[in-house]
Symmetry: C2
Subunit: 331 residues, 2 copies
């Protein structure tokens, strides 16, 4: 029987309909032949810096020879910085002030996040965090979105491994309504809804994939798609900006291993991941608690999802978690 | 320069970013070779009725020889009817009570909605309307969603032309918040927001594609994707259930011709369309006014859209409308 489940941390609803019988398990397509380590036409490959609009940061710092991770402006930005006098709203239009950056996660064109070494993935995460904090501090920024698209079907237009940050001058209405929902829930119950949910999930255990010292990986109760996975910090913290050094050091390999588990179970599939979008105003709030959400792209949303904003998940979260627990996250 | 535009009828926001330079105009792929008129493996083709879970209705009625349009239960329903004693909510779970129907729009496997005759498309629309009204009247139904997925990339799992209706026991939160937004706007201004928007668009004319006696076709001010097109009834009416016979007779060919315009400009592309999802409680409301929304699937949403619910439209609505106005909607 299908169920309409409600996410107890955001209020979002989802139709969990495993009877639909489309339950994807096997790779939808054979793994693509590996890309070469260098593509002369790729603007993100070393040596092709002439194609970049600039370089914002490198890690290790530019003084050291070579780079592991590089931050560049998006060449086709969705938003760009505007001076205050050009950013005044008019009727139903707000000028597109903001920042749009790309994190190039490796000099190697064919690198996969799931295959990086501990040191490499640690550098990636520390650059994610640096840029998240830097953009949240820019003038007239209300929300920072850190996201990654893997595979053309997940919206990636370049194959070279990269993530993006988009800093917005306004809180998206859909995010604001989830923040409001969490605040009401906090007022009613006196606890952070994510802390509550994590306690309930650890108690129940069916949807937990793996726990380490600072983080838990789980398939959420109201997963919006098959094999949706959350990485949740155990310590209460509203925003990714608030992560501490020990937690950040654990998160890199934990994320890599979560992606490996997905690959072991599903094969090479497109996916998106993102960190809950928040801005400076939300830092330190008792009702908010960030997550990193990974969404494999196994089912295509259609007109129903566009019309309602309601996801139909043809997979049972408890079974997805069981399959992921059984898969090795190691190299 | 990009703009954050707000839809003045729903409150939804979109980033209009034509600078991104991905503006799609040409067909993304060559038109697929036409399917045959009959596919022995297709459950919707005449003669394969053994594959159907049942037949709910036919038009012309079953007494006449042959059928033009047939309504069947979805074989893998997202929701199914439950007796009241099984439909009680528990904590964050609501049992999946509802109805999921498929409208087979032609006996011909290779028929395209854009190529139907006036009589054929009129029958399709009248069946859409009959089922919309019938499902809205079922017990414990709060919203009916009429939608169509065209092409595998738009979520269609079968090629035979069909639309779907899904009747839900709860109003989706995203739809409810748009209803609430429209109600607030109505209270502030004393007019239906869609009537207001339509008057403004007719006055402005840049985004109008075509007008007939009862309907206008336009690219909305805050279009969520390239070439999004709305078909809007000129007379105020909250719900598709309230359309009158003259309006319904005009809507069929108007919809077909709108799809033809899209095909002339874009080639064979996947698309979704849907009628604003509403239920019996919304009928007759002064602040609501239904539309049929057509969304060509030219851009793939990625992690940003998943994280924020905010669309990035790389196309300028005014230019899309101009291109569609210049395309012939005739056969």
């Amino acid at each position: 029987m299908s169920e309409l489940r409600q996410d107890r941390t955001t209020g979002a609803r989802v139709i969990v309909a495993p009877e639909r019988g489309h339950r994807p398990r096997q790779p939808a397509a054979p793994a693509p032949s590996p890309a070469p380590g260098f593509d002369p036409a790729c603007p993100f490959c070393p040596g092709n810096e002439g194609e970049l609009p600039g370089i914002i940061a490198e890690a290790p710092s530019a003084a050291a020879p070579g780079w592991r991770v590089r931050v560049v402006p998006n060449k086709h930005p969705a938003l760009r910085p505007l001076p205050p006098e050009e950013a005044a709203p008019a009727d139903a239009t707000l000028p597109g002030h903001g920042f749009h950056e790309v994190v190039i996660e490796s000099p190697r064109h064919d690198a996969a996040l799931a295959d990086l070494s501990d040191g490499e993935i640690a550098t990636v995460l520390s650059v994610y965090h640096d840029r998240f904090v830097a953009l949240a501090g820019r003038p007239r920024i209300r929300a920072v979105v850190l996201f990654r698209n893997h595979g053309a079907a997940a919206g990636a237009s370049l194959a070279h491994p990269h993530a993006q940050l988009l800093a917005l001058p306004t809180m998206p209405p859909g995010v604001q309504s989830q923040i409001d929902w969490a605040e009401r829930r906090f007022r009613e119950r006196g606890n952070c809804p994510v802390c509550d949910e994590l306690a309930r999930e650890r108690d129940d255990a069916r949807r937990i994939v793996e726990e380490r010292r600072h983080f838990a990986a789980l398939v959420p109760f109201a997963a919006t798609c098959p094999f949706e996975t959350w990485l949740v910090p155990k310590r209460h913290q509203a925003s990714f900006a608030e992560i501490d050094a020990d937690e950040l050091a654990e998160l890199g390999p934990f994320l890599r291993d979560a992606l490996r588990r997905l690959r072991r179970v599903l094969g090479e599939v497109p996916y998106n991941f993102f960190v809950d979008p928040l801005g400076p105003a939300e830092t330190g709030q008792p009702h908010l608690h960030w997550r990193l959400r990974i969404l494999p792209g196994l089912v295509r949303p259609g007109g129903f999802e566009l019309a309602t904003g309601l996801a139909i998940n043809p997979s049972r979260p408890e079974e997805d978690a069981e399959a992921l627990r059984g898969a090795d996250g190691g190299s």
